[in-house]
Subunit: 382 residues, 3 copies
């Protein structure tokens, strides 16, 4: 009850008010308390459809023209009691979903702790904020391989031995039921680990492109793995769900083991990233096993670094992704090829993206099908 | 991810904190960034029912006494990057709905741009905020004729040629699926236009009453039109829906064309407004056509302007509305007659409204029926 | 519409920014406007289950390990127009529910007014914020006896005649349909009254424990009663619902009359509280009557007050609760015995609680059953 809360801490602290790229910042003079408030809006136009095709029937949908608020975020973060006791929450206003809410103890670079709900650091593509992407949205891989947001506890840090001896690690125990879950189906948790080698001596930030025009190259190689037993075979912002072909909803029905190999590189306005995935789904009830595979490669360039006529705020980016929904059937392949142009009015905080994508699905029993999609997107932070 | 966002814009800006009728205002010293935070609460008591009757069966409902939080709004607006790059969002806390989220480029008075989701400026009654009305809520017309909030893009402005040559215009392309839609049913958009002549040289603000006691009269005549093809025949805060008598839910089922003629006038505490509506619904599946009509007139007066004994914060307001749900059946008429008193503690920001309404419905096949409703409402902004 | 809102109050007020235990505080220099913004996060780990058992079948559930965001609150309060015109709202981010939204006129200590939606002051256990409890959560009694949040109007105050003549009173008329209701089922309201004697001359705050180490003892005896007719036999954060054994959902089906007798005491780090309940449910349709009973006693101690070796931030707390779901069947008894330890990093604003509970249910027709539950909880305010 708020009425009595002043009893325990009646002292008032002098404070400051600032504005940075994190939004407006309220801070107490002693540095112990800070709160950042920011909002982000993503407006999207898509034709003939916004969503990536999932099955062949999605190619036969009638044409649509969609204009929508795709994301409307309220972001509040900061620290309290101590500069190293941090918090962050993010709320999706358009769907009324609590996305992130986490507490972090970040006292030493090499040993940090996190608890709450957040996007697991499994893949670079998913972990990069939707507001800091180079394309309009994530690739065809994301639906099948992301573990999205989970609730749990984590230990992580950066181990810097100087020079090439620079590593990041993450290890987490999570409920494994997805965003917004209030129960676990069984006593089995989700376990996650990621190990990253920053072999040029520093990290590649979790942000699309190389907007700071790095004068020194940065590169990483990472391997990450997840193990989970739950009723789910995929995760999204909506929580746990099933991939097409998996209909079960029983507690403990699916044991999913997956790993991915990741690279990323930035230098003088050029950026590169790739992921290579394997995911094994074991249906504990029907005793069937399915192995999925896929990869993407993506690159971007702020071409005014070499071409004089090229406008400074303009980036060109390309992506190729391939998903095999069942590696035992070699003819089943789903492909995405995309090109995008970004105009950065104020870096990732205010940008316009235009994107053209070609999807091509092939199946051993169906004729090959394809689709061209056009999207235009404004992403702006306040 | 918030962790990396400071990389791109590390500079901090000195800021100011103020309080105005828009709530608390955070602003950077250079004038480029501003954020207003305000909340609004509307508490309502109603007997025997709060909602306007829709069909004859609503007159037979048992008596209720309702006390409720009718609206609980969180409003955040401001500008970013430039003083003319504005944003605004409004969230309904009691129903967890994102109402408005829009970005506006308002650099020149005669040419402005808007994108996002907002209340289409089709009718004065709907566009005026629920917190700036003179009656407890909108008239019987609103359910049948409003197009409510939509997602899309708009161009608008004020053309001032001096004297009576003062005009406002709005033109928008919208998805036409209502608030919160994430898809379009077909490739057809909603188109909206409004043209307004401010023939006394200035606009009548979109706000109920004449609380500023205008010493010069202001008046407008406006005509507005909408065309849309969608599964819906009406729109509300809940999104798209159907009027009673329209049961279809197929994509592209209804083509709706509607227009309205509007007047408004304010002078020395007196206010007047009216709307005259026609709405044509074509069922593309059953090939049936229905024409609806209706109008309202409303007036208010801060009577202390002429009567010495009348308290200064007290306004009296009246309204008469008539709806014909099917113009081909001349006996089907729905009528509303209402009187209200407003006590303005702090203009529209803190006011108490009491209202008495008589509804009278007649139908060629049913006996005429009527109902008296009493409502009391506190509307307060923080 | 925000565009016109500055017309009515263009003046800007100088303001202050502070941080207290209520969070960051924005305030205008003239003292008329103040807004506090705070967030609270509650992370919980529970094994084998988080919820209290409701029926015997809950003891047979398989074991789970649950880690979850149990509460994620956004709290905004303050005053506007006058220092005594207060407001407060609280929103549950993880479930997107508006919990509190109330306006208070607190000009004189002996006569205050409240309108909106809030936790009725019926019982101490429920009224104390979930962030200021001594155990991980409320007792077995809460599900059966709380009336939770309601919408309505209230008058309340403190009558101080000096010395032992110190009393608090509350009287409210409420819709009686629970949190988030927008209708009343009938014309019958819920009526609530509470009378409290602060017989040592001052109130015991609505907050768990005695964290301020009171050097003078404080104690209260209170009696409270509720009467309501509605479709519901219990209330929770989700709104109205039914206790097991009550299946009806008709308007006006249940007339519930209940009362409770409460004590509380604090002195030098020791705290005590108890409630004794009776609740009569009359099914107006089946003409059956059920009488429920129950009580709890709880105590806590900051033992460093007497034991030198005991750490200063550590509190030990115990609770015993007993519920009789039908007093006519003397063998039906549900018992809860719990012990908890709190580590107060920053009073109730940042604390870690560990709790061990034993539930024991007996029924005349079933074998007695019991369960041990362990819970660990971090509650932190920002």
């Amino acid at each position: 009850q708020e009425l009595d809360s002043t009893l325990t801490n009646p002292e008032k602290k002098e404070t400051f008010l600032n504005h940075t790229s994190k939004g407006f910042i309220l801070a107490s003079e002693d540095g112990k308390y800070e709160m950042q408030i920011a909002a982000r809006l993503q407006l999207r136009f898509a034709v003939p459809d916004d969503q990536d095709p999932i099955t062949f029937s999605d190619f036969a949908n009638q044409d649509q023209r969609i204009f929508k608020i795709n994301r409307a975020r309220l972001k509040v973060g900061g620290h309290a009691y101590q500069p190293w006791l941090k918090y962050y929450f993010e709320y999706e206003l358009s769907r009324s979903l609590l996305l992130d809410y986490r507490v972090m103890i970040e006292k030493w670079p090499w040993l940090n702790f996190k608890a709450g709900q957040w996007k697991v650091e499994f893949t670079r593509e998913r972990f990069i904020s939707s507001g800091e992407q180079q394309m309009v949205d994530r690739s065809l891989l994301n639906r099948k391989f992301t573990v999205d947001r989970q609730q749990g506890v984590e230990v992580y840090g950066n181990l810097d031995g100087g020079g090439i001896a620079n590593f990041n690690y993450w290890a987490a125990a999570l409920t494994g039921m997805g965003r917004g879950a209030t129960q676990n189906d069984d006593s089995k948790m989700m376990y996650f680990g990621r190990f990253q080698w920053n072999f040029l001596g520093r990290e590649v930030p979790f942000s699309g492109g190389d907007l700071t025009i790095s004068q020194k190259p940065a590169a990483i190689i990472a391997i990450a793995a997840i193990s989970n037993t739950s009723p789910y075979t995929r995760f999204s912002t909506s929580g746990g769900g099933n991939l097409s072909g998996f209909e079960g909803t029983n507690d403990s029905q699916y044991t999913v083991n997956q790993y991915q190999l990741e690279t990323a590189f930035i230098y003088k306005g050029f950026s590169w990233a790739s992921e290579f995935h394997r995911k094994n789904i074991l249906d504990n009830f029907d005793e069937e096993e399915t192995l999925l595979g896929g990869f993407y490669i993506t690159a971007g360039y702020l071409a005014h670094q070499t071409l004089n006529f090229w406008p400074e705020p303009l980036e060109i980016a390309v992506r190729y992704a391939e998903v095999r929904p069942d590696l035992s059937i070699s003819n089943n392949i789903q492909r995405e090829t995309a090109i995008a142009f970004n105009w950065f009015f104020a870096d990732h905080k205010n940008k316009l993206t235009t994107e053209l994508t070609r999807f091509k699905f092939q199946d051993q029993e169906l004729a090959q099908d394809d689709e061209i999609r056009f999207r235009l997107q404004l992403d702006i932070s306040f």
